[in-house]
C-alpha cells in the first residue's frame, strides 16, 4: 500500500521528532535516578523533571508544585476519584457527580467505589452531548465531595462549559475534577480561571509518548495517594520516575503551546471541510457531537443502515485508520455509551465512525477519505437488509 492516512489521533498520536530527540538523552547518557541527589547523574535527572513540571504547569496556568506525573490519563482519573473518595472514607461525604459520557477510567472507577459506600449521580447530556447546568446544580447535596466532568469528549468531541461548571462547584464548595486528556492542546486550559481543583492529562494524545500523564492537584486539596511508597513527586505518587517519558511529555506540551492558535485554527478549518464533505456526499448521515463546541480535530458521523466495524476494515484496506466508538472499547461489541447517551438508537450507534485529524492531515487527504467513505458506505448499504427502512 502506498500512502497511509492516520485519522485516529484521538486514540493516540505519532510521537513527534523533537520529542524523541529530547527523550533519547535520558536513556544511556543521563540515566540517573532522580532520587539520588548526591551525585551528578541523579541531579541531572531531577533537574529534567523539575523543568518538565514547570512547562506543564505553565501550560494550564498552575503552580509547578501542583503538578504530579502519573502513568497516563487513566491513572490520573483513578487517582482523582479514588483519592478524594478515600480521603473522605467514613467521614460523611460520599457522593460524586459525573456524566454519562465520561471515559471508562472515570465511569468504571465510580462503579467500583460503590463497594466503599460511594454513591454516584450520572448527569444526562442532550443530543449534542452537552450537560445541563441546572441538572448539575440540583444534583449537588451536602454529601457531595466531587464533581468529575470531562473537558472534551473523546468520541464525539463535545466541549463542556467548564468555566461555568467550575463556578457552580466553587459556589457549592465541592471539588471539581476535569478529565482534560482530549482537551489538552486543543482547548485553552486555565485551572485558575476555570476553577478546576484536579485535572487529568495524558501525553500520548498530543505527540508525546504513551504511558505517561499528569495530574494537577490544587494546593490544599485533600486527596489520598493511589500509589504509596517512596517519596517521589513530593510524597504523593511513588515509583521511580519515568524520566525519559516525563521529558517527552513536557516537550510535547512545549511544542503544543508554541503554535497553539495557528494549530487550532488550521485543524478547525480542515475539520469543517471534512464535515461538509461527508454531509454533501453521503446521504442519511448524522453528525454526532456539537456543531461548534467541539474539538477542532473531531469528525464523528453515524452512517445509517451500516455497521462500524465493516467500515473500518474497508478503510484499513485503503490505508485509512479511524475508529468506531473510543479506542478503548473498539474491541468490545457494545455500542458506545456516549452515543447512546446522546439519544442515538443502538442500530444507528453501531454505524458510527470517528475520524480525528492530526497535524499531518491535508485537504487532499480529506477529499480522498470522503470519496472512499462514499464508496464504502454505498457498498455496505447495498449489502444491508435495512437499507430501505
Amino acid at each position: 500500500m502506498s500512502k497511509k492516512f492516520y485519522l485516529d489521533n484521538a486514540a493516540t498520536t505519532r510521537v513527534k521528532k523533537e520529542v524523541i530527540d529530547e527523550m533519547l538523552k535520558y536513556f544511556d547518557e543521563k540515566y540517573g535516578n532522580p532520587s539520588s541527589q548526591l551525585y551528578e547523574l541523579g541531579r541531572r535527572s531531577k533537574e529534567a523533571i523539575d523543568n518538565a513540571r514547570k512547562i506543564v504547569a505553565d501550560f494550564i496556568n498552575a503552580d509547578e508544585k501542583e503538578i504530579y506525573f502519573t502513568a497516563g490519563g487513566s491513572e490520573s482519573d483513578n487517582w482523582a476519584l479514588k483519592g478524594v473518595a478515600f480521603a473522605n472514607f467514613n467521614k460523611g461525604k460520599n457522593h460524586i457527580i459525573t456524566t454519562k459520557i465520561e471515559h471508562h477510567a472515570v465511569l468504571h472507577t465510580c462503579e467500583y467505589l460503590e463497594k466503599f459506600g460511594v454513591k454516584t449521580t450520572y448527569l444526562d447530556v442532550d443530543k449534542y452531548g452537552m450537560i445541563d447546568l441546572e441538572q448539575l446544580k440540583e444534583a449537588i447535596t451536602p454529601e457531595t465531595m466531587l464533581i468529575s466532568i470531562m473537558f472534551a469528549n473523546n468520541e464525539i468531541g463535545t466541549i463542556q462549559p467548564i468555566e461555568q461548571i467550575g463556578e457552580i462547584a466553587k459556589e457549592h464548595g465541592v471539588l471539581l475534577h476535569v478529565d482534560a486528556v482530549q482537551a489538552m492542546g486543543a482547548v485553552k486550559i486555565d485551572v485558575k480561571k476555570q476553577h478546576i481543583d484536579l485535572l487529568s492529562m495524558s501525553a500520548h494524545k498530543l505527540g508525546g509518548p504513551k504511558g505517561i500523564g499528569g495530574m494537577f492537584i490544587r494546593k490544599g486539596v485533600k486527596i489520598d495517594n493511589l500509589i504509596h511508597g517512596g517519596g517521589q513527586e513530593r510524597g504523593k505518587r511513588a515509583g521511580t520516575e519515568g524520566v525519559q517519558n516525563i521529558v517527552g511529555f513536557a516537550k510535547a506540551v512545549e511544542l503544543a503551546s508554541k503554535d497553539f492558535d495557528a494549530h487550532v485554527k488550521k485543524l478547525t478549518s480542515l475539520r469543517n471541510k471534512f464535515i461538509e464533505g461527508i454531509k454533501n456526499n453521503i446521504p442519511d448521515v448524522i453528525l454526532n457531537g456539537h456543531p461548534t463546541m467541539r474539538l477542532p480535530n473531531n469528525v464523528n458521523f453515524s452512517y445509517k443502515y451500516v455497521e462500524g466495524e465493516s467500515i473500518l476494515l474497508l478503510l484499513d484496506m485503503d490505508g485509512i485508520s479511524a475508529s468506531s466508538g473510543s479506542a478503548c472499547t473498539s474491541g468490545s461489541l457494545d455500542p458506545s455509551h456516549v452515543l447512546l447517551a446522546t439519544g442515538l438508537d443502538h442500530g444507528t450507534a453501531h454505524g458510527s465512525i470517528r475520524f480525528t485529524i492530526g497535524e499531518e492531515t491535508t485537504e487532499e487527504d480529506i477529499s480522498f477519505v470522503v470519496q472512499t467513505m462514499k464508496g464504502i458506505v454505498e457498498r455496505l448499504r447495498m449489502m444491508s437488509p435495512i437499507k430501505n427502512d
Binding site: 462500524g308 465493516s310 476494515l313 457494545d334 443502538h346 442500530g347 449489502m383 437488509p385 435495512i386
Partner: protein, 142 residues
C-alpha cells in the same frame, strides 16, 4: 485479527443481494445488537438452487453469511438444516472468540429461512420441528 479466509469473504462476499419470489426468507438479529442477517432461498426439488444474503453487521458477520451461503448452495434442505456455526467457523479458518456468535447468527439465519420455506409449503424438515423464531421483544445481545 481475522484469517485470510475471513478477509476474503468479507472483501468479496459471495451471494450478496436479495431475491424476488424467494421460496424461503429468514431474518435474524436485531439492529440493537448491531447485526441483522437475512437469507433468501430458491428451492427446487428439495435442493437449494440459489441463495442470497443481506447483512448489516461486522466483518465477521458478513464473512459468516457469505460462507454459510456457499456451504448450503446446491445442498438438499436436509443437508442445509444441519449446517452448524462450527462448520462455518472451520470453513473460515477460525474466528476470534468474541466473534463466534456472528457465525451462530449465520446458522440461525439459514434455519430461519428453511423454517419459512417449511411453513409456506407445509413440509416438515427434520431438525426444525421445534424451531421457534426468536421473538424480537425478547432479544439478548451477545
Amino acid at each position: 485479527m481475522y484469517t485470510e479466509a475471513v478477509m476474503d469473504h468479507f472483501r468479496n462476499p459471495r451471494n450478496v443481494g436479495s431475491m424476488e419470489n424467494a421460496d424461503g426468507v429468514g431474518q435474524v438479529g436485531n439492529p440493537k445488537c448491531g447485526d441483522i442477517m437475512k437469507i433468501y432461498l430458491k428451492i427446487n426439488d428439495e435442493t437449494i438452487e440459489d441463495v442470497k444474503f443481506e447483512t448489516f453487521g461486522c466483518g465477521s458477520a458478513i464473512a459468516s453469511s457469505s460462507m454459510a451461503t456457499e456451504l448450503i448452495k446446491g445442498k438438499s434442505i436436509n443437508e442445509a438444516v444441519e449446517l452448524t456455526n462450527k462448520a462455518v467457523v472451520e470453513a473460515l479458518g477460525g474466528l476470534p472468540p468474541v466473534k463466534v456468535h456472528c457465525s451462530v447468527l449465520a446458522e440461525q439465519a439459514v434455519k430461519s429461512a428453511l423454517f419459512d420455506y417449511a411453513q409456506k409449503t407445509g413440509k416438515v424438515i427434520k431438525g426444525l420441528e421445534n424451531y421457534e423464531p426468536i421473538d424480537d421483544d425478547d432479544i439478548h445481545c451477545h
